[in-house]
């Protein structure tokens, strides 16, 4: 945050220097101002990267600063705009990281309390990601031995492991299976279920799928010799 303040002060100085009373800045002053702004952009980009990495693996820390147009030499105004955008994005990203850090600290304290006195936090759940950790684990306060533990007041904290499976969703309607290409069109029109990533479920197999290839294999198979068993019978 101090750096941003410094940058704002520096900007004010730079603006003062560029906006000379004579009017338009001369070439040397403009060049110097652009160089200073590029240095600031470099520093802000570094700090933005540091903030993003500090927030990893948490999602949702927005560090994107969109740009328009192709590669070109940016003028003073464009560089100022870019620097301001980066500074603003950095400020917001840091605030998000800070707020999440506080929330995670609170959650860690809660977890400690859950571990110490599980009977006070019955059926409480706390995902690992709310603690700032990676993975899909969830801390849960559960009764020992099911209903017996509930009645007897035997509570403990368990950490589930593994990511949950994709939820099953009912089919919105009958799927066209007979006509080739209809499955793809059904996927495209959203009439078939999709996985969380937007990928379609695997194409369903026809009831008699593989019958033709089985028949082909059967035709290729050499005929058994008649009158002789495949295996010698054990006596």
């Amino acid at each position: 945050m101090v750096v941003i303040d410094e940058l704002h002060e520096h900007l004010a100085e730079a603006r003062g220097g560029v906006a000379a009373p004579a009017g338009a800045p001369d070439r040397e002053a403009g060049h110097r101002a652009r160089r200073d702004l590029r240095l600031q952009v470099r520093r802000l980009e570094r700090e933005l990267a540091d903030t993003l990495i500090a927030a990893f693996p948490r999602a949702g820390v927005d560090v994107a600063v969109p740009a328009h147009g192709g590669p070109r030499v940016l003028g003073l105004a464009e560089l100022e705009q870019l620097r301001d955008d980066l500074a603003e994005k950095l400020r917001r990203a840091r605030r998000v990281v800070e707020e999440r850090g506080e929330e995670e600290a609170r959650n860690r304290e809660l977890l400690e309390r859950m571990l110490r006195h599980p009977e006070r936090y019955r059926f409480a759940t706390l995902p690992n990601r709310d603690l700032g950790e990676s993975g899909c684990g969830v801390w849960q306060v559960r009764p020992r031995l099911g209903i017996i533990g509930m009645l007897a007041g035997w509570w403990h904290v368990k950490l589930s492991s593994g990511c949950p499976l994709a939820p099953w969703r009912p089919l919105p309607g009958p799927l066209p299976r007979s006509i080739p290409g209809r499955w793809e069109s059904a996927v495209a029109s959203g009439r078939c279920p999709t996985l969380p990533g937007g990928l379609p479920w695997p194409r369903p197999r026809r009831p008699n799928a593989g019958a033709r290839s089985r028949a082909r294999r059967a035709r290729r198979r050499p005929p058994r010799r008649s009158g002789r068993p495949c295996r010698s019978p054990r006596s």
């Binding site: 560090v63 600063v65 740009a67 192709g70 590669p71």
Partner: protein, 223 residues
């Protein structure tokens, strides 16, 4: 082997940078070397094995932390300086990292493409290849002039004035960190390749030369 030694005896050719650009970006440089085009278009098993090794050395977390490493960071900053958003128009090394994650590995796409990719992933410095016979004189960087086009014929794209381009003595051969003119990229008939790279502030010269020689070695490897 003698071919390699001959190649290593030669220093990279220093390109030119337009004066106004040089004032703005004093450390911007273009370096190039010329090598024989590979006889076969497919990569030999050794190159494919090298790509597999690189794939296994590369993980998702690295793609995130990459932006803090000196060379990728230098290219990110330069992208910002020239008005590109590196999160939209990816820097070459970040684009390669993203592709590695999306595809599950670095896929072989041809001898020249693989050599360029190897050099990029090993050094972090992007390299491009052009058909040397279709490039006139040394390469350089300048702003596009009014009415200039990228490529030849009906499919050539108009370039807005001021767009930074890599150019030879006559015409632009590609947009800086963007697409190359279709008429200059290597084809089956290419006999010589011009491999070039762009050095920006914060990238040590040794890495840039290393990228060029890594690419040249991958192309010269006849195994």
């Amino acid at each position: 082997m003698s071919e390699d030694l001959d190649a290593e005896d030669r220093a990279p050719m220093e390109g030119w940078v337009a004066t106004d650009l040089q004032d703005e970006f004093p450390e911007l440089r273009v370096l190039a070397i010329e090598v024989d085009a590979p006889l076969r278009r497919r990569s030999p098993p050794a190159i494919k094995a090298q790509l597999r090794d690189l794939s296994s050395r590369f993980h998702g977390a690295q793609a995130v932390t990459m932006r803090r490493q000196p060379i990728p960071h230098a290219y990110r900053v330069f992208f910002r300086h020239i008005g590109l958003d590196p999160d939209t128009t990816r820097t070459p090394i970040e684009a390669a990292a993203l592709e590695r994650i999306m595809r599950g590995g670095f896929k072989s796409r041809g001898r020249v493409e693989d050599a360029l990719l190897l050099a990029l992933v090993e050094t972090g410095v992007p390299v491009w290849a052009l058909d040397a016979d279709r490039v006139a004189g040394p390469l350089g960087i300048r702003a596009a002039l009014r009415g200039e086009r990228l490529g030849e014929g009906e499919l050539a794209d108009d370039l807005p004035p001021g767009r930074l381009v890599v150019a030879d003595a006559d015409n632009p051969v590609g947009i800086l960190f963007g697409e190359l003119a279709a008429s200059r990229i290597p084809t089956k008939e290419t006999r010589r390749l011009r491999i070039f790279t762009v050095q920006v502030a914060g990238v040590p010269a040794i890495h840039v030369e290393e990228a060029l020689w890594a690419c040249a070695n991958a192309l010269a490897d006849r195994s």
